[in-house]
Protein backbone atom coordinates (compact mmCIF):
# COMPACT_ATOMS: atom_id res chain seq x y z
CA UNK A 1 0.00 0.00 0.00
CA UNK A 2 1.53 3.23 -1.13
CA UNK A 3 1.10 6.11 1.19
CA UNK A 4 -0.75 9.25 0.32
CA UNK A 5 2.27 11.48 0.68
CA UNK A 6 4.10 9.87 -2.22
CA UNK A 7 1.32 10.77 -4.57
CA UNK A 8 1.39 14.27 -3.16
CA UNK A 9 5.10 14.38 -3.73
CA UNK A 10 4.72 13.45 -7.38
CA UNK A 11 1.98 15.97 -7.71
CA UNK A 12 4.11 18.64 -6.08
CA UNK A 13 6.90 17.86 -8.51
CA UNK A 14 4.55 18.12 -11.46
CA UNK A 15 3.11 21.36 -10.16
CA UNK A 16 6.45 23.01 -9.64
CA UNK A 17 7.68 21.78 -13.00
CA UNK A 18 4.58 23.29 -14.52
CA UNK A 19 5.28 26.56 -12.78
CA UNK A 20 8.86 26.39 -13.96
CA UNK A 21 7.69 25.81 -17.51
CA UNK A 22 5.26 28.66 -17.37
CA UNK A 23 7.83 31.02 -15.96
CA UNK A 24 10.74 30.13 -18.20
CA UNK A 25 9.20 29.36 -21.53
CA UNK A 26 8.42 32.01 -24.04
CA UNK A 27 6.56 29.93 -26.56
CA UNK A 28 2.82 29.96 -26.17
CA UNK A 29 2.48 26.25 -26.86
CA UNK A 30 5.14 25.52 -24.32
CA UNK A 31 3.38 27.61 -21.72
CA UNK A 32 0.26 25.63 -22.44
CA UNK A 33 2.20 22.46 -21.76
CA UNK A 34 3.20 23.89 -18.39
CA UNK A 35 -0.44 24.60 -17.68
CA UNK A 36 -1.30 21.02 -18.54
CA UNK A 37 1.27 19.83 -16.05
CA UNK A 38 -0.28 22.03 -13.37
CA UNK A 39 -3.75 20.73 -14.13
CA UNK A 40 -2.50 17.16 -14.06
CA UNK A 41 -0.86 17.70 -10.71
CA UNK A 42 -4.08 19.14 -9.29
CA UNK A 43 -5.98 16.19 -10.70
CA UNK A 44 -3.57 13.75 -9.19
CA UNK A 45 -4.07 15.44 -5.85
CA UNK A 46 -7.81 15.30 -6.21
CA UNK A 47 -7.85 11.64 -7.09
CA UNK A 48 -5.39 10.76 -4.37
CA UNK A 49 -7.41 12.59 -1.77
CA UNK A 50 -10.54 11.03 -3.16
CA UNK A 51 -9.01 7.68 -2.39
CA UNK A 52 -7.56 8.46 1.02
CA UNK A 53 -9.39 11.41 2.48
CA UNK A 54 -13.00 11.04 1.57
CA UNK A 55 -15.58 8.37 1.53
CA UNK A 56 -17.16 9.37 -1.76
CA UNK A 57 -15.83 9.94 -5.20
CA UNK A 58 -16.08 13.73 -5.17
CA UNK A 59 -12.44 14.11 -6.01
CA UNK A 60 -12.72 11.89 -9.05
CA UNK A 61 -15.78 13.78 -10.21
CA UNK A 62 -13.88 17.03 -9.87
CA UNK A 63 -11.01 15.52 -11.84
CA UNK A 64 -13.35 14.48 -14.64
CA UNK A 65 -14.61 18.02 -14.91
CA UNK A 66 -11.10 19.38 -14.86
CA UNK A 67 -10.12 17.10 -17.71
CA UNK A 68 -13.10 18.24 -19.75
CA UNK A 69 -12.44 21.90 -19.07
CA UNK A 70 -8.76 21.45 -19.86
CA UNK A 71 -9.64 20.04 -23.25
CA UNK A 72 -11.92 22.99 -24.00
CA UNK A 73 -9.34 25.42 -22.77
CA UNK A 74 -6.58 23.96 -24.90
CA UNK A 75 -8.83 24.01 -27.93
CA UNK A 76 -9.59 27.68 -27.47
CA UNK A 77 -6.01 28.52 -26.60
CA UNK A 78 -4.72 26.85 -29.73
CA UNK A 79 -7.33 28.59 -31.81
CA UNK A 80 -6.06 31.86 -30.44
CA UNK A 81 -2.45 30.86 -30.95
CA UNK A 82 -3.20 29.99 -34.55
CA UNK A 83 -5.01 33.24 -35.16
CA UNK A 84 -2.16 35.16 -33.61
CA UNK A 85 0.32 33.21 -35.68
CA UNK A 86 -1.49 34.19 -38.83
CA UNK A 87 -1.34 37.84 -37.89
CA UNK A 88 2.14 37.91 -36.42
CA UNK A 89 3.89 34.87 -37.85
CA UNK A 90 5.26 34.10 -34.41
CA UNK A 91 4.04 32.53 -31.24
CA UNK A 92 6.88 33.89 -29.20
CA UNK A 93 5.41 35.83 -26.35
CA UNK A 94 8.19 38.40 -26.36
CA UNK A 95 7.50 39.32 -29.90
CA UNK A 96 3.85 39.88 -29.19
CA UNK A 97 4.70 43.21 -27.77
CA UNK A 98 2.65 45.83 -29.50
CA UNK A 99 0.78 46.22 -26.28
CA UNK A 100 3.93 47.01 -24.36
CA UNK A 101 4.73 50.53 -25.29
Amino acid sequence: MIELKYYLLISAALFSLGVFGVLTRRNAVNVLMGVELILNSANLNLVAFSRYSSSGIDGQMFAVFVIVVAAAEVAVALAIVLTLYRVLNTVNLDRADVLKR
Binding site: L4, L8, A13, L17, G21, L23, A71, V76, L78, A79
Partner: protein
Protein backbone atom coordinates in the same frame (compact mmCIF):
# COMPACT_ATOMS: atom_id res chain seq x y z
CA UNK B 1 9.68 -3.93 -1.42
CA UNK B 2 6.80 -5.54 -3.18
CA UNK B 3 6.11 -5.69 -6.89
CA UNK B 4 3.58 -2.91 -6.59
CA UNK B 5 6.14 -0.64 -5.04
CA UNK B 6 8.59 -1.24 -7.82
CA UNK B 7 6.00 -0.51 -10.45
CA UNK B 8 4.93 2.57 -8.57
CA UNK B 9 8.45 3.89 -8.34
CA UNK B 10 9.01 3.21 -12.01
CA UNK B 11 5.83 5.05 -12.91
CA UNK B 12 6.74 7.95 -10.69
CA UNK B 13 10.18 8.20 -12.24
CA UNK B 14 8.79 8.09 -15.76
CA UNK B 15 6.10 10.63 -14.96
CA UNK B 16 8.33 13.16 -13.29
CA UNK B 17 11.27 12.50 -15.55
CA UNK B 18 9.31 13.10 -18.71
CA UNK B 19 7.75 16.17 -17.12
CA UNK B 20 11.27 17.46 -16.59
CA UNK B 21 11.99 16.87 -20.26
CA UNK B 22 8.78 18.74 -21.11
CA UNK B 23 9.91 21.91 -19.41
CA UNK B 24 13.64 21.66 -20.00
CA UNK B 25 13.96 20.39 -23.55
CA UNK B 26 14.81 23.04 -26.08
CA UNK B 27 12.98 21.20 -28.79
CA UNK B 28 9.28 21.81 -28.79
CA UNK B 29 8.56 18.51 -30.41
CA UNK B 30 10.43 16.60 -27.75
CA UNK B 31 8.49 18.51 -25.14
CA UNK B 32 5.20 17.47 -26.63
CA UNK B 33 6.17 13.87 -27.09
CA UNK B 34 7.50 13.54 -23.58
CA UNK B 35 4.25 15.02 -22.37
CA UNK B 36 2.78 11.78 -23.72
CA UNK B 37 4.71 9.81 -21.12
CA UNK B 38 3.71 12.19 -18.37
CA UNK B 39 0.07 11.76 -19.22
CA UNK B 40 0.46 8.02 -19.35
CA UNK B 41 2.28 7.99 -16.06
CA UNK B 42 -0.48 9.97 -14.43
CA UNK B 43 -3.01 7.54 -15.89
CA UNK B 44 -1.13 4.64 -14.35
CA UNK B 45 -1.10 6.46 -11.03
CA UNK B 46 -4.86 6.77 -11.35
CA UNK B 47 -5.02 3.03 -11.77
CA UNK B 48 -2.99 2.67 -8.58
CA UNK B 49 -5.53 4.89 -6.91
CA UNK B 50 -8.38 2.74 -8.11
CA UNK B 51 -9.76 5.36 -10.47
CA UNK B 52 -10.02 3.16 -13.53
CA UNK B 53 -12.57 5.23 -15.38
CA UNK B 54 -10.53 8.33 -14.80
CA UNK B 55 -7.43 6.59 -16.11
CA UNK B 56 -9.32 5.76 -19.29
CA UNK B 57 -10.64 9.28 -19.59
CA UNK B 58 -7.18 10.68 -18.95
CA UNK B 59 -5.68 8.71 -21.80
CA UNK B 60 -8.64 9.27 -24.08
CA UNK B 61 -8.80 13.01 -23.62
CA UNK B 62 -5.26 13.98 -22.80
CA UNK B 63 -3.48 11.74 -25.25
CA UNK B 64 -6.15 11.48 -27.91
CA UNK B 65 -7.30 15.06 -27.67
CA UNK B 66 -5.08 17.54 -25.96
CA UNK B 67 -1.77 16.10 -27.00
CA UNK B 68 -2.85 15.88 -30.62
CA UNK B 69 -4.11 19.44 -30.45
CA UNK B 70 -0.79 20.56 -29.03
CA UNK B 71 1.03 18.72 -31.76
CA UNK B 72 -1.10 20.44 -34.33
CA UNK B 73 -0.39 23.73 -32.64
CA UNK B 74 3.34 23.13 -32.77
CA UNK B 75 3.31 22.02 -36.37
CA UNK B 76 0.97 24.65 -37.70
CA UNK B 77 2.76 27.52 -36.07
CA UNK B 78 6.18 26.71 -37.39
CA UNK B 79 7.68 26.14 -40.71
CA UNK B 80 6.33 22.66 -41.05
CA UNK B 81 9.39 21.04 -42.40
CA UNK B 82 11.88 22.71 -40.13
CA UNK B 83 13.36 20.29 -37.68
CA UNK B 84 14.76 22.88 -35.33
CA UNK B 85 11.68 23.73 -33.40
CA UNK B 86 13.47 25.29 -30.50
CA UNK B 87 12.18 27.71 -28.02
CA UNK B 88 14.04 30.41 -26.24
CA UNK B 89 14.34 30.30 -22.55
CA UNK B 90 13.70 33.15 -20.28
CA UNK B 91 14.94 33.86 -16.76
CA UNK B 92 16.04 30.31 -16.06
CA UNK B 93 17.55 31.15 -12.71
CA UNK B 94 14.58 33.04 -11.33
CA UNK B 95 12.29 30.38 -12.67
CA UNK B 96 14.31 27.63 -11.05
CA UNK B 97 14.33 29.43 -7.73
CA UNK B 98 10.60 30.04 -7.74
CA UNK B 99 9.83 26.51 -8.86
CA UNK B 100 12.14 25.11 -6.21
CA UNK B 101 10.48 27.25 -3.55
CA UNK B 102 7.09 26.07 -4.67
CA UNK B 103 8.25 22.48 -4.67
CA UNK B 104 9.76 22.69 -1.24
CA UNK B 105 6.73 24.36 0.29
CA UNK B 106 4.23 22.02 -1.26
CA UNK B 107 6.15 18.89 -0.52
CA UNK B 108 6.65 20.05 3.03
CA UNK B 109 2.94 20.57 3.17
CA UNK B 110 2.43 17.13 1.73
CA UNK B 111 4.55 15.49 4.37
CA UNK B 112 3.79 17.59 7.40
CA UNK B 113 0.16 18.41 7.04
CA UNK B 114 -2.26 16.24 8.88
CA UNK B 115 -4.53 15.37 6.00
CA UNK B 116 -7.95 14.13 6.65
CA UNK B 117 -7.67 10.39 6.37
CA UNK B 118 -10.45 7.90 6.28
CA UNK B 119 -9.86 4.27 6.83
CA UNK B 120 -8.50 2.07 4.11
CA UNK B 121 -11.13 1.34 1.55
CA UNK B 122 -11.57 -1.59 -0.72
CA UNK B 123 -10.65 -0.75 -4.31
CA UNK B 124 -13.76 -1.02 -6.35
CA UNK B 125 -14.72 -0.08 -9.89
CA UNK B 126 -15.84 3.49 -9.96
CA UNK B 127 -17.40 3.71 -13.39
CA UNK B 128 -20.88 3.06 -12.19
CA UNK B 129 -20.57 5.42 -9.27
CA UNK B 130 -19.34 8.15 -11.54
CA UNK B 131 -22.18 7.58 -13.96
CA UNK B 132 -24.70 7.75 -11.17
CA UNK B 133 -23.12 10.87 -9.72
CA UNK B 134 -23.35 12.55 -13.09
CA UNK B 135 -27.07 12.10 -13.13
CA UNK B 136 -27.74 12.89 -9.48
CA UNK B 137 -25.68 15.20 -7.34
CA UNK B 138 -23.45 16.38 -10.19
CA UNK B 139 -26.22 16.97 -12.69
CA UNK B 140 -25.81 20.74 -12.74
CA UNK B 141 -22.03 20.71 -13.21
CA UNK B 142 -22.54 18.14 -15.92
CA UNK B 143 -24.87 20.47 -17.76
CA UNK B 144 -22.67 23.48 -17.21
CA UNK B 145 -19.70 21.56 -18.52
CA UNK B 146 -21.66 20.86 -21.67
CA UNK B 147 -22.46 24.56 -22.03
CA UNK B 148 -18.78 25.24 -21.60
CA UNK B 149 -17.90 22.79 -24.32
CA UNK B 150 -20.48 24.36 -26.59
CA UNK B 151 -19.01 27.79 -26.00
CA UNK B 152 -15.50 26.49 -26.61
CA UNK B 153 -16.69 24.88 -29.83
CA UNK B 154 -18.35 28.05 -31.06
CA UNK B 155 -15.40 30.15 -30.04
CA UNK B 156 -12.68 27.95 -31.48
CA UNK B 157 -14.58 27.53 -34.73
CA UNK B 158 -15.08 31.27 -34.96
CA UNK B 159 -11.47 32.09 -34.22
CA UNK B 160 -9.90 29.83 -36.80
CA UNK B 161 -12.34 30.68 -39.53
CA UNK B 162 -10.58 32.89 -41.99
CA UNK B 163 -13.19 34.81 -43.86
CA UNK B 164 -15.21 37.42 -42.10
CA UNK B 165 -18.50 36.31 -43.57
CA UNK B 166 -19.76 32.83 -42.77
Amino acid sequence: MSVTDVVFILTAVVTVGSAVVVVVSRSLIYSVFSLLFTFFGVAVLYVFLGADFLAGAQVLIYVGGILVLLLFGVMLTHRLYNLNLTTERFQPIAGTLIAAAVFVSISLAAFKTKWKLVGDRELEPTTQQIGEAFLSSYLLPFEIASVLLLVALIGAAMLVRRRTDV
